[in-house]
């Protein structure tokens, strides 16, 4: 199956997502690949909304397709024509799909939810885009379930303490290896927590594991013979750990299925996953319904440093070479500093997928 949708998500603000997207656009446009781009947040502005520091611009060429809020078209220097309106709205108005008629910078404000992004991707694919780039926003991850492959951006803006940062990305990259639960088509459409023992034997009245009541229901499911418990919605890190660390529940290959890896990376503290032995427990007892293909890690040595005296932010940098070296040592993926190395390697991976 052709894999066309490339998402660049980050673990924090200012980790280099848009820099990666901008580089990919530049290089892929040179190859003449029909491209489309959107975001799950707000990108392409000149100055950062929070720090006030300069941001990388998003430059599009003639023929590129993009999805953005209609009001952002007027702020963009690109000449474009609207190809399709949608029923997706952002705080900046309705999302439209447009085609570039004259090259220029663009401000992007795209669909913010997983379902919204899926809808936009369908439209962009229908317009003939071979590669669709999806820029992430802040540390938001859930909508990225709609992409085919993911680039994860991290860097000093996430944590300037490189040892901790490295440990985090190591753990996360391992979590992406959680086994995919295949062969249970009946779970695909489930919106509520279900107990499965070859077929669905119980359906609960909530979608997420967020309360003690729901925790007890899941425990009950596993005790009474259910082989797996599928949680389609959100998962409380604390409650999940409580569940997974109860040995008595997981005899005979029982397990918990969550929808995707992103459910583990939101809402809690990633540092908790570093607990000795916990990652192994997760890999043994936890499954995902949809695995996400992690293509590469990008690293950004930049971080905004808040100066109390001046009451503003100034750009600062950690040692980029050391950052890259430390992370490369712990992940079995390409680790790229876009500013220093360019995105040639990424482009090669992407184009071998499609163009």
């Amino acid at each position: 199956m052709e894999r066309r949708v490339v998402g660049v998500a980050g673990l924090a603000k200012n980790t280099g997502k848009t820099t990666a997207i901008s580089c990919l656009l530049r290089e892929l446009n040179k190859d003449g690949c029909p491209l489309a781009v959107t975001t799950i947040g707000y990108d392409g502005e000149e100055l950062d909304n929070v720090t006030g520091l300069p941001k990388p611009r998003v430059y599009l060429q003639e023929g590129n397709i993009f999805a953005t809020a209609h009001s952002c078209l007027q702020q963009s220097s690109v000449k474009a024509t609207v190809r399709q309106e949608t029923d997706i709205f952002t705080p900046l108005g309705m999302v439209v799909v447009a085609e570039v008629l004259g090259a220029g910078n663009v401000i992007l404000a795209g669909p913010q939810t997983a379902s919204g992004l899926k809808q936009i991707i369908t439209i962009l694919q229908g317009m003939g885009s071979k590669i669709i780039l999806v820029d992430g926003a802040l540390n938001r991850l859930v909508p990225m379930i709609a992409v085919d492959v993911l680039v994860l951006a991290t860097g000093a803006a996430r944590n300037t303490e490189l040892t901790s940062l490295t440990k985090e990305i190591e753990t996360i990259s391992r979590l992406f290896l959680l086994p995919e639960m295949k062969g249970i088509p009946s779970l695909e459409e489930e919106e509520m927590i279900v107990c499965w023992d070859g077929e669905i034997c119980r359906r609960f009245n909530s979608s997420s594991l967020l309360s003690r009541e729901q925790l007890n229901q899941i425990k009950d499911c596993l005790i009474r013979g259910g082989k797996y418990c599928y949680i389609p919605g959100a998962v409380s890190q604390e409650l999940l750990f409580q569940l997974l660390t109860e040995d008595g529940l997981f005899r005979n290959g029982r397990g918990i299925i969550i929808h995707d890896i992103f459910r583990l990376l939101i809402g809690g503290h990633l540092v908790e996953y570093f607990r000795p032995g916990l990652a192994e427990l997760l890999l043994d007892r936890l499954y995902v319904l949809h695995q996400v293909d992690l293509l590469a890690i990008t690293v950004n040595p930049f971080f905004p440093d808040y100066r109390i005296g001046d009451k503003d932010y100034q750009p600062e940098y950690v040692d980029g070479d050391r950052l890259k070296e430390k992370i490369s040592a712990v992940v079995e993926l390409p680790v790229i500093d876009i500013e220093a190395d360019g995105c040639g390697k990424l482009v090669k991976y992407i184009t071998t997928m499609v163009c």
Partner: protein
């Protein structure tokens, strides 16, 4: 449809915004759940799922690091399946729509957000600022006043003076009156579809009554060097500008209650297009009316030019076309005044104002002839004609005691104002009294404002209220000569004088921007907004409360009344208003009043030819 709304303040404090929104939602019948502050994201999501809410409103102060917290919350809502059925909005300091989009919310509400805006989001309505306000109406400043005199002796004196003035001078004519008649004829013939030869003939006759610079225009279409005609491309952009400015906009009302004074702002940049930009800005910031300021040289020149003209110095030239441009730009609720209180064109100016659709004009015989540079005889004759036009077009006219600024004591200026008012009443027009709230030479020397600005101003208004039932509209602007070049100070003193005006209970005020109050240079929109906001805050501060003047106010009031009496007796005894003006009864040279020379010996002592 009523909604179920979950309100979650994420800050440990600063939840007042959500509490206010909660109250408004409950008042509208929506079901709300207001969580206590500082609850974890998972608990919020769980509660939202349990209660099956339609909307989640979150408040949080945003700083670096907090953005990720909010991003995680949004991810949780998406993961939990809430985003399909529940809208979620974020409010707080530093929130802008762009940041809300980056965070993944459906809407963002930052500083300045009204409760109504948040409620509109909950109810799924489009929020258009200004549209939810009740429509502003155009007040009649003279409504509720019957011009009854409470002081019979003053009434008697005024009637005597005014009757004699009208009897003596209403049968006279002047070049201004003749031009006004020709202008009327021009209007009539144009409406009847007269051909160009007939129009040219009337214009040629008009030109014979004009100063050379104006006559040159009518003969050879040559404009004075400091004027030019606006180009077609300039005018073409105007319609679009006005349409964009107004687009369904409902202007704010700065008054907290109906008893607070109507607010007028002066304009007169020289360029009608720039004037319109200023007018749209002040309308948007709450001005109720605007006053046209024409160039000072217009008072010394016989004749009024034609066409859309821009002037390279202060003051916007009065022409029929310029007035039409301005009128077409005004919101339906904006009052508009065109002044005719001095100079050699007063009757024609009022005629043009009436034809253009102005609501108000300005006429003052005493000021115009003692400090405005116009010959007293000429101005008296012209003013009577001007007031006849004011009566015909139903234009109330205010009478500014601007001679106070020259040094004429208030009691003399008030006497002159009352005389002009009575003349107007007898002709059928409706006067509006305009004492000044100013730090005049009189008080500089006399010390009436040494301690405070309240007492003497209170005295001025009270003495007038005790004489006649008439609207009072202090100008021009209020607080004149209390401003400095410092912008904040200027706005503050204007605001305080506005509060004073509200406390005293006058009907309208004219305010100046902090730039123009000090006459320091070009007038900026920002400075205009400063003073309108200052007025708004003073109105807000005061509400229906009042100030308490000291007993000095009563003393000043009595002195004023005694002075007015004395002057009116002297003028009545003189038997001739014009002679009284020349002889200084309404202001001497020592006071700072000088009978004007413009138009001297131009009054035709025979009956009007037409």
């Amino acid at each position: 449809m009523k909604k179920a709304v979950l309100l979650a303040p994420l800050d440990p404090v600063h939840d007042i915004g959500l509490k206010m929104i909660n109250r408004a939602l409950l008042e509208r019948g929506h079901q709300t759940i207001l969580l206590p502050p500082d609850i974890r994201g998972e608990e919020i999501i769980n509660r939202a799922l349990q209660e099956d809410v339609d909307i989640i409103l979150v408040s949080r102060t945003v700083g670096y690091g907090v953005a990720e917290l909010l991003g995680s919350l949004i991810d949780l809502t998406d993961a939990a399946g809430l985003r399909e059925f529940t809208k979620i909005a974020i409010g707080g300091m530093a929130i802008k729509p762009e940041l809300a989009a980056e965070l993944g919310f459906d809407a963002g509400f930052g500083p300045g957000t009204t409760v109504e805006e948040a409620v509109a989001f909950v109810e799924g309505r489009e929020y258009l600022p200004g549209r939810e306000r009740p429509a502003k109406h155009k007040p009649d400043l003279t409504a509720g006043y019957d011009y009854h005199y409470f002081n019979p002796e003053i009434a008697r004196l005024l009637e005597e003076i005014a009757s004699r003035a009208i009897n003596l001078y209403s049968g006279f004519t002047s070049p201004a009156i003749e031009r006004a008649l020709l202008r009327e004829e021009l209007f009539t013939r144009e409406k009847e579809g007269a051909n160009s030869e007939e129009i040219a003939s009337i214009q040629a006759e008009y030109a014979r009554l004009c100063s050379p610079a104006v006559a040159e225009y009518y003969r050879q279409r040559i404009l004075p060097a400091y004027l030019r005609r606006l180009g077609q491309d300039e005018l073409a952009g105007l319609a679009g500008f006005i349409a964009n400015s107004d687009q369904g906009f409902s202007p704010p009302d700065l008054k907290r209650n109906e008893s607070q004074p109507v607010i007028f702002v002066q304009y007169g940049t020289g360029c009608p297009l720039m004037d319109i930009a200023h007018i749209k800005a002040v309308e948007a910031w709450g001005a109720d009316g605007v006053v046209h300021f024409d160039p000072s040289w217009g008072a010394r020149v016989e004749g009024i030019l034609q066409g859309p003209l821009t002037h390279q110095e202060n003051g916007s030239v009065i022409t029929s076309a310029n007035l039409e441009l301005i009128k077409n730009a005004l919101l339906p609720s904006t009052l508009w005044q065109v002044r005719a209180h001095r100079g050699l064109n007063t009757p024609e100016t009022v005629l043009l104002a009436g034809e253009a659709g102005a609501e108000l004009t300005k006429v003052n015989i005493a000021y115009g002839s003692l400090a405005g540079g116009t010959d007293p005889e000429r101005l008296t004759v012209d003013a009577i004609a001007a007031l006849q036009y004011a009566a015909r077009y139903g234009l109330p006219f205010d009478i500014p005691t601007n001679e106070e600024l020259a040094g004429v004591p208030a009691y003399k200026a008030f006497a002159g104002m009352l005389i002009t008012a009575q003349i107007g009443l007898m002709i059928g027009a409706r006067p509006v009294l305009q004492p000044l709230f100013c730090y005049s030479p009189e008080v500089m020397l006399g010390g009436q404002m040494e301690d405070n600005y309240l007492d003497f101003n209170y005295a001025k208004v009270r003495v007038l209220r005790g004489i006649i039932s008439a609207p009072i509209w202090p100008g021009a602007p209020i607080g004149f000569l209390t401003h400095t070049e410092e912008r904040v100070q200027s706005a503050v003193t204007t605001g305080l004088h506005a509060g004073l005006a509200a406390a005293i209970g006058v009907d309208a005020i004219s305010i100046a921007s902090s730039d123009e109050a000090y006459s320091g240079g070009p007038i900026t929109i920002a400075a205009r907004i400063d003073t309108l906001q200052a007025v708004k805050e003073n109105y807000r501060f005061l509400g229906q409360a009042s100030y308490q003047p000291t007993p000095k106010a009563k003393e000043y009031e009595e002195v004023l009344l005694a002075g007015i009496y004395q002057v009116l007796r002297e003028v009545a005894a003189r038997g001739d208003l014009v002679r009284a003006l020349y002889e200084g009864l309404l202001g001497t040279e020592e006071d700072g009043a000088y009978p004007g020379r413009n138009g001297k010996n131009t009054v035709n002592k025979y009956m009007q030819i037409r």
